[in-house]
Amino acid sequence: MKKLLLGNEAVARGLYESGCTIVSSYPGTPSTEITEFVAEYDEVYAEWAPNEKVAVEVAIGASIGGARAFAAMKHVGLNVAADPLFTASYTGVNGGLVIAVADDPGMHSSQNEQDSRNHAISSKLPMVEPSDSSECKEFVKIAYELSEKYDTPVLLRLTTRVAHSQSLTELCDRTEVGVKPYEKNPKKYVMVPANAIGRHTVVEARTKSLIEYAETSPINTVEDNGTEIGVIAAGCCYEYAKEAFGNKASYLKLGMVNPLPKKLIADFCAKYSKVYVIEELDPVIENHCRVMGLNVIGKEVFPMEGEINAAMIKEKVLGVKAEVKALDEPIPVRPPVMCPGCPHRGVFYVLKKLGVTVNGDIGCYTLGSAAPLNAMDATVCMGYSVSGIHGFTKASAANGKSVAVIGDSTFIHSGITGLINIAYNKSNSVVIVLDNSITGMTGHQQNPTTGVTLKGDMTTSVNLEALCKAVGINRIIEVDPHDIEKVEAAVKESLAAEEPTVIIARRPCIMIKKAVIKKPLIVDQDKCKSCKACMKIGCPAISVRKDTKKARIDDTLCVGCELCVKMCKFDAIKIND
């Protein structure tokens, strides 16, 4: 039976069909749904780990223990997991080990657009890259076979368009592979120098064998259409090229993007008068060709940044451009915003009002950087805010007014280590943990602070106050972020204090069950003085009427959080009875 599956759902199906039994991941767009879908299979144990490093280590442990194991993450998550990854390349596996990494060319929801194929090259791990959902499923199976045959973790690379596109996929039954027996083997698994030296030799030999495999691998395929133009591509770029050229080009489709074959590519290039390497982000395949002295066309035509599409290929190669129509006036952009009723809004309103420097982090609250709040000064990576504020205040003590803001899940992910640094090194920093009881931006996943597992079971939850206290923070203040007077007082007192403070701003995300949704509010048009004070909080439900210049509230958006009521000095905003 063929079913329309999201690429990520197809990866999950591939895990199920391959007999995978252990999955540990940290959510990150565009990889998140793999783990959510696989958690629906009773045969597979699946969990959210506190971060990607932990997830990969869990998967390595499960593999050494004999199970087919898996971890998924977004591209920047692989940086966090790079430490175990590089050495797991040396230890190899017992049960098959597959690690999915989802790149985000075009940065639909990421802070950079790094190309994870570089991680595969530097960690010396094989990497496969599917181009649609059907391949997502099949390549997981092939990845497990390669993993066990060549004694190596295997990387599965996705990009946003593959992870988040649906295409028809044939469903098959699960093959139970069981758990292999574990045998003590320190030379393979204990990576002290004496053993690791031996393992590095194994890794280099393995790469040679994998190159040989790549020459004849069934996932590296040639489609010869007797044309002038040859195209070398992998993943979604292959689909774009097919869309652009159809059978007017010949194709070398690389399902395996590391290591790359040599003879297969050289033979392909010899057959066509012009060979284009079409790849998003870095010129990985192109450079491989150039090292071999092959004359290919790549980044001199196609961009290093953003996504490629069929129209771009048609334009750059064939010189064909579609005629398009457009309105002759500027169309206002519609960037993502904090939801009406979002608990983060109150905190950012206060931070803007106080004019403090805000070291931000990764999550919904990064939207605090947008107008009209504009309350963020720096955002780098998961956990940066807590470590960064310490460096920032050390560098500019005269500034004196800076805070870090970080969500509950991000704090557990890698904020806590920065906080230990603050306590240990006697930093006088103010850290605001925005505890909204969920991992919001990636679509509401549970995390160690929520008391619920991925599978929906009740579990213990991290007590943030006790955790902060245990690492040496003595000033800990809990506030409701919608109680803006208290938030303001807490921030002011903490900035004046002689010791570090953690302010826990606690209120559930408005999108989750725990949140209280009330009746929409209305603006009393007689009382409204058009002062626009209510507009300062950047709530998408509030706007100003063009005709009367008075505020109005969109009752389809308002959730009755009453933050705007606190802004209005004229009592014009009230509950609609």
């Binding site: 767009t29 946003t160 649906q166 028809l168 979604c236 599409n309 993502p336 915003v337 904090m338 107008a371």
Partner: protein, 191 residues
């Protein structure tokens, strides 16, 4: 036959359910289908786009500029934003609802006026539909997506029974009747 449908709207308007319903119907009509959507940031009230492509064999999961047969717009400004994706003889089916984006809310920009008329003046076939009122009459403002699918169904030759089956298999039981009602309203809409 093949087709490219772009579904555009504002995060939270139910565009993903619309593409899911089309995805439940089109393969049964014998088509290869690809649907591409972007999750994450776009859900937070931002501009959202879903591409639905069907035909004998579909390669690219996305629709390029000048390639859409239909744009199913859930909001006026979003229709205006994506008209460059329309084929020369493509159609826009547009919910007449307006939702102010942040630059308009903050007063930095104005919401463009008379969008349907301006689109029509470009020689584009546009069908404005007050889908919000029709959805409310059906029992839920959230059924805007299904009203619009009702309107586009006649152009795609979708069988009503087949679509209603998809509703039954896709939405929660308590919303099935509302959605069927909304779908019929869209189908009966007099263009």
């Amino acid at each position: 036959m093949s087709g490219n449908i772009m579904i555009v709207g504002v995060g939270g308007q139910g565009t993903l359910l619309a593409s899911r319903l089309l995805g439940a119907v089109l393969p049964g009509m014998g088509y290869d289908v690809k649907i591409s959507e972007v999750h994450g940031m776009s859900q937070r009230g931002g501009s959202v786009v879903t591409y639905v492509r069907y035909g004998e064999k579909v390669s690219s999961p996305i629709i390029d500029k000048g390639e859409a047969d239909f744009i199913l717009a859930f909001e006026q400004l979003e229709a205006a934003r994506y008209i460059s994706y329309l084929k020369p003889n493509g159609k826009i089916i547009m919910n007449t609802q307006k939702i102010d984006p942040m630059p308009v809310i903050t007063g930095a920009m104005d919401y463009p006026e008379n969008i349907p008329e301006k689109i029509k003046a470009l020689g584009i076939d546009i069908i404005p539909v007050d889908a919000l009122s029709m959805a409310e009459e059906s029992g839920s403002a959230k059924a805007v997506n299904v009203v619009l699918l009702g309107v586009i169904s006649k152009f795609l030759g979708i069988d009503t029974e087949h679509f209603e089956k998809a509703i039954e298999n896709t939405v929660k039981p308590k919303f099935i009747e509302i959605n069927k009602k909304a779908y019929r309203k869209g189908l009966e809409y007099n263009i």
